[in-house]
Symmetry: C2
Subunit: 262 residues, 2 copies
């Protein structure tokens, strides 16, 4: 929980402080004028400018420009961050590497305005509600919200082409493949459902030519869908089901249900 601050440190200090901090589990932030080079999945170069550099002890490296959410260059956790001093120019150089995929970020520092070592102590974990997983739980507990008489047969059913959110059966016994989305449905989601339904229809056709191979319903469940998606569903014989106002307070419903068992 301590912070150590270095103002306009020289190259050797930068290299040593960063090395020691990361080794000892501390986070380092630096305000620098630098240029950046990336080589790996693609390659790229960022000319000189003022940036915020963050290095974490898990190998994460972030280079932030003064705007935007995403770092302009980075390395995800799992790699290693090392610092060195380029002899010729007496400049600190921060290099982050990893293998799989093999990639490398090099930050050549021209000027270090400031450097901070932060021994952060954080045991908390983020808790979230309103996720798709919770939506699944809600549907599993209340299959009638999809359609009266619906019965869930299997959740996350594995097929040779991937996972189906729900495999269900409607009131008349017809199988229903259900794909659930927490956000407005897109063409990609339609694609997913289409893939699963095609599979079931093929399998149905194999089981027997006399049975109606198309006797499988596909259901895309989401709070909304664009016109294009609705049309695609209609054209492909799939159904879009608007699950209205699935609010994050669905947890309240679950809580109430659980309370009923007390």
């Amino acid at each position: 929980m301590g912070v150590e601050r270095y103002d306009a440190p020289d190259a050797a200090t930068v290299a040593e402080v960063v090395r020691a901090a990361l080794h000892e589990g501390a986070v380092v932030t630096a305000e620098v004028d630098c240029e950046v080079e990336y080589d790996g999945r693609t390659s790229g170069y960022l000319g000189r400018g003022d940036r915020l550099v963050v290095a974490k002890p898990d190998g994460t490296l972030l280079v932030h420009q003064p705007t935007k959410h995403k770092p302009v260059n980075w390395m995800p956790s799992g790699g290693t961050v090392v610092t060195d001093v380029a002899e010729a120019a007496d400049q600190p150089v921060i290099v982050a590497r990893r293998s799989n995929p093999r990639e490398r970020v090099e930050v050549r520092v021209h000027e270090t305005y400031g450097l901070t070592r932060f021994d952060a102590d954080d045991a908390a974990e983020y808790e979230e509600s309103g996720t798709e997983a919770e939506m699944h739980e809600y549907i599993e507990a209340n299959p009638d919200c999809l359609e009266d008489g619906m019965r869930i047969v299997e959740h996350e059913r594995e097929t040779k082409y991937g996972f189906v959110d729900f495999y269900a059966v409607d009131a008349s016994g017809t199988p229903v493949v259900v794909e659930v989305k927490r956000v407005q449905a897109t063409l990609t989601h339609f694609d997913q459902l289409q893939r699963y339904v095609s599979l079931y229809r093929e399998d149905g056709a194999k089981r027997g030519a006399d049975t109606d191979a198309g006797d499988v319903r596909g259901m895309l469940v989401a709070p909304s869908a664009s016109t294009r998606v609705k049309r695609a569903c209609r054209d492909a014989g799939l159904e879009f089901v608007a699950l209205p106002d699935f609010e994050t307070d669905a947890t309240d419903v679950t809580d109430a249900t659980l309370a009923d068992f007390d």
Copy 2:
């Protein structure tokens, strides 16, 4: 390009420095003990712990735990970041909001270890090569890499269900829909191609029942693909084409070509 540093500032100082910095276009970083609340697309809560908070003048807010690439909480650019002091506890509170979607991040600061104002001057833009766009250029210039006798008819052809990377014709005059991926092909990519091909086949069927409506080839081009994807392609009558070792050094080729014109 200047940095101002505040050690263990009090709540009023934090609020004022953050306000002034963001208003004047500077980036602020703070090492704090805080709790965080998010409400918007989902909702969530993060209990007390030491974190690095970054606020940018474009409305970006980042809350970083000591590990991982992604911030545990954030607000993308475009919103507003305001600071205040909770009277009761004399704590700084940083709130980022935006509409569309309507969401809000609240950082309740229990202790501020350090605060930095960074007047960053950065005009550089990141330049990247080895992207999918370059892969497209390569294919357009060398269609034979897909298959001997292939001719590109159209690049980025628009359809009512989205864009097709290439619309081509093979040596025998059969149309080929081509979907190109820079990374290993996934089922999602297969889905995309499948959607386009279905469309072309439907259109073919509409044009004339006597012509073979299935007379369209679909080609998924990528450096590799999982077994599942290859099987899906085979089953759907689509082709997977491994475009071997398309390296980022394709830029070298370009450079050499450009040099030839000197």
